[in-house]
Symmetry: C2
Subunit: 206 residues, 2 copies
DNA sequence: CGAGCCTTTGAGTTTCCTCAACCTGAGTGG
DNA sequence: CCACTCAGGTTGAGGAAACTCAAAGGCTCG
């Protein structure tokens, strides 16, 4: 796998790694930092389709059209390794396990997207934010960071865009969660105090 | 591709093709009929993640976990061809074009899901239904059916689940669209009268 | 240290949901 | 063949959730 990494790119905060419509010749593995992928409609409305942490692959969604279908933007100074898609394909031919690995990655992305559909389609604002925090917590912990205390790399507005809510709603929810003693928030520093309460929030509703 | 089709299965209306949690050894190509895929939460709430017409592949989302992550249910008497996944993988090794084709399929599904995320996250009820009808129209027409007149295979409730709305809301929207002269509806028979108006609905909002 | 962005909070509004009643049409049994 | 039943669909009234608009305070970064 490492043999594929032909080069690396640094993406300063706020800069694009790729742009909607760019021809797709490469996909990227996030090395460090955080990216968001954003899909923009003709009328200017946009939706964040994902936040991407180190170890995750971005760009796979454009493979069918051989062109990127979203913008990828760095939320903080980040680095990604470049995976030339033709080389990847070449190597996959010789290495069935890699082929399987790629499919697994894509399948997991589909699965993740379906979870998001449930979130946007069937959950209330409160539940969405709780689910978001728990998901982030889980991902941070698998990367060796604290599961309970971390820094949000994204603004309230970006969280809102991801969750299908307005920034004011997100802000109010943070305040409400803090009031209820579920979390502590100081700006973008978040501490999950009562994860069980959050889990119950997500799992509740009948 | 045809060599892969080891067998076919008929799925009578309302019956399951596979169930959430089933070990994944096969994926399916819809032959005729219509399927829905449904993701259910612990608390019983569920979300329809897709409607699947002939020519589409279902089951790819479970590949990462090697287990199905949704239920697939027939909306009408349907038939699917069974693609054994191990054979598929085997053949893909020899046939790079097939490998590419599978990736393309999965990528398209990711892309489609992202469009759904935008719909659920950034669009109003009215826009969602308009987008749904236009999408269905487009898919019917690529299958050789009329782009303007077709039979909905799903109930108002199922449309609602897919679009993140309640059945009453869907019903009211149908009535409103009909009143405005955009469509004609009689039960599940729909006729798109003014597709441009529908397109404008989707593309509006600033 | 100032400018601008991000965030918080409040008040009022809109959208969609909930609950409820009623209608319609397809299938069933007398 | 007709009345009955029942699931699916429509429509209305009222309410809740989230949005919009607005104002003010707090960080961050140049």
């Amino acid at each position: 796998m490492d043999a594929l990494v032909s080069e690396r790119v640094r993406i300063p905060r706020g800069k694009l790694l790729y742009r909607q419509g760019d021809p797709l010749t490469t996909v990227y593995g996030v090395r460090f930092g955080t990216l968001k992928t954003v899909l923009t409609l003709q009328d200017g409305r946009s939706q964040i389709t994902g936040f991407h942490l180190p170890g995750e692959i971005v760009g796979l969604d454009g493979l069918g059209k051989m062109a990127h279908v979203s913008d990828a933007i760095a939320l903080e100074d980040s680095e990604a390794c470049v995976l030339r898609f033709d080389e990847l394909q070449e190597l996959a031919r010789e290495l069935p396990s890699l082929q399987m690995q790629i499919m697994r990655l894509m399948s997991n992305e589909i699965s993740r997207d379906h979870d998001m559909l449930v979130m946007l389609g069937a959950m209330r604002a409160e539940e969405r934010l709780a689910a978001f925090l728990l998901n982030l917590s889980q991902r941070m912990s698998t990367r060796g960071y604290s599961a309970t205390e971390f820094l949000l790399r994204m603004s309230r507005e970006e969280i809102g865009s991801y969750l299908g809510l307005k920034l004011e709603t997100v802000s109010r929810l943070f305040s409400r969660f803090a009031e209820s003693g579920f979390i502590q928030v100081k700006q973008r520093q978040v501490k999950l105090v009562d994860m069980d309460a959050l889990r119950q929030l997500v799992g509740s509703r009948c």
